[in-house]
């Protein structure tokens, strides 16, 4: 089976500071793969490299077998990879509905067209409403995104991310700042949307990670020190020493 994402010997430096140091990682198609690690380990940098926000200093990144190294974010997105952000990154002045609709436009082939009205496109309407239903935002479809509650904004972040129908979705700390109840809702949502997609998650909440992930990779100082199932990671002594400590043992 082709790996959804494959990184080989990826390095990233900012000036003299090495953030990612020769990283190899393979994420299988259809799995929920979590990346964990202490603060400053390079998790967000890794996300930014895969999604084209940062350029790779050395190495190769492939998406579904195709080289995407140093491609622009929009080119990578068009190949089927979407991402959410650690800090909510939505279109605050637009309504919830318009946010999601914008997320679906490119994938449904509308591109830059200025000769057809968005309101008349049935496929666009159906996709938008389906995503709104799936993310539980249908009742707030007309609300300006900037006025939503924090947890709803996080849900909208995910809705915009999946609206384009990407086969690989990367979520950067999807439950950060949420209450226990909100986290449970978010986990249920992620589980639901993962049924048809490959998911890569960076998350600090270990409960969420061990609950959701099929496999976990542990990133420490820019290198993967272990990859395995939650049980394997839990019992890995190197991981316990480097990151989890007594919490996991």
């Amino acid at each position: 089976m082709t790996n959804a994402i494959e990184l080989s010997g990826v390095e990233k430096s900012f000036g003299p500071t090495e953030i990612i140091r020769g990283l190899d990682l393979a994420i299988a198609e259809g799995e929920i793969h979590a990346i964990i690690g202490p603060n400053g380990a390079g998790k967000s940098t890794l996300f930014n490299l895969v999604t084209g926000r940062y350029r790779v200093s050395r190495g190769r990144i492939a998406l579904n077998g195709e080289d995407i190294t140093n491609r622009s974010p929009f080119q990578i997105n068009r190949k089927g990879l979407a991402r959410s952000f650690q800090v909510t990154n939505i279109f605050a002045r637009m309504s919830v509905y318009e946010n999601v609709r914008c997320g679906a436009l490119w994938n449904l082939g509308y591109g830059y067209s200025f000769w057809q009205f968005v309101a008349r496109r049935r496929d666009l309407k159906e996709r938008t409403e389906m995503v709104l239903e799936q993310t539980g935002l249908m009742s707030r479809r007309g609300v300006p995104a900037g006025l939503l509650s924090y947890s709803d904004q996080r849900a909208l972040e995910i809705a915009v991310t999946i609206a384009g129908g990407a086969s690989v979705v990367m979520l950067d700390e999807p439950t950060s700042g949420m209450s226990h109840a909100e986290t449970e809702q978010a986990v249920a949502l992620i589980r639901e949307i993962s049924a048809t997609r490959t998911m890569v998650i960076v998350e600090h909440d270990m409960g969420v990670v061990f609950d959701l992930a099929d496999r976990i990779s542990v990133l420490v100082y820019g290198k993967i020190i272990a990859t395995g199932t939650p049980e394997e990671i839990r019992s890995n002594t190197k991981v316990q020493e480097a990151y989890l400590g007594t919490e996991a043992s």
């Binding site: 952000f85 002045r93 490119w106 830059y112 200025f114 009205f117 008349r120």
Partner: protein, 422 residues
Amino acid sequence: MIMPGLKKPGAGAGLIALLIILPLLTDSGFAITVMSQAGVAIIFALAFNMLLGQGGMLSFGHAVYFGLAGYVTAHVMNGMANEDLPYMPVTLIPIVGGIAGLFFGILIGFVSTRRAGTAFAMISLGFAELATALTLIIVFFFNGEEGVQTDRWIREEWFGITYGPDIQVYYLIAVWCVIAAIAMYALTRTPFGRISNAVRDNPERVQFIGYNTHRVRWLAFSLSSFFAGLAGALHAVNIEHIGFETVGLGQSGVILIMVYIGGTGNFAGPILGAILITLLNSYLSDITPAWYLYLGLIFVLMVMFAPGGLAGLIMMHDPIRRVRPRLLLTMLPSYAIASGATLVALAGIIGLIEMIYFLSTTVTRDTAMVLYGIALNAADFWPWLICAALGAAGGYGCARAYPRMAETYNSAMHEARATVAS
């Protein structure tokens, strides 16, 4: 055509009827000229707002496309008159201007839209200076400071139209104004229009939903330049002349002020701004030489206290109108008091400015002048005291009335929200 999202096609039809009837209500040639200028300004302002309001691009040089298209139009009309170029009806000549604007927009926009924000604004400033300099250097095309003269009466067209009489030019501008406004409104409802808004709000996020933000900005810039060019062509037809000032910073500044005063956040905002500033420019400039000072003051006050522009001020009352329209009546007294105080303050301040302006610019020793239709002597003490007193009293009244007006508004909004919640 009924466009999705156009909630009140009746209002649109009413406005079109108004455009038809308006020139029939006056026999003043000056009034018709002013209305024609307003029509051109509306198209240009809407085109500019495609950049600023819809796409989030602040340009200090959008007159470049307006002016260059005007030059191309003037040359094409002259070429047709001399039979150097094949004839096309003057009715369709704005398309030539639009294509010229589009051409320059594609060319310059490819470079300038690679950057957003302040960098884009500075690049646009640079191109405005460049274009102004070129109009004075490339004399064979721009004809230096004299500009290019043209004649819109080339030959008789459909239904005996010659575009000799001003009223015919007014209707030409009115028709193109309606077509351009509908087209620009329709653009806001397309995938491109929506993504343009998205780039304005959050360009970084747009890249991660499959869009090349440079391409979106470039397309918005090019389409906006097309409409700016269309306005430039109509300007050339209207005044039968195009000069270097039409591509310069002054013209770009005026359009920016029009759009900002009208409001960038609403489609009708630039239309309001274009009409208001054209009217003030045409009528106030005859009354007072200090007109530009007042324009500057209006602009500063709008930016400080009503950044949403006139349309924003109107639209902030829309939720109340929709939910509890009667509340608007209860708000009227506080609004009237604030307006009264403002008028008193303005009367005083304008009086002082006019007297200062008069004394500093008069070339004779005669200090007699007319202010508000009253003959007075600017060297006397009393006019200064009265104006200062009016300014102070009005200012004090404003300081008291505006917080009350805001309180009334907030309370009405609170009631409207409570109505929705229940």
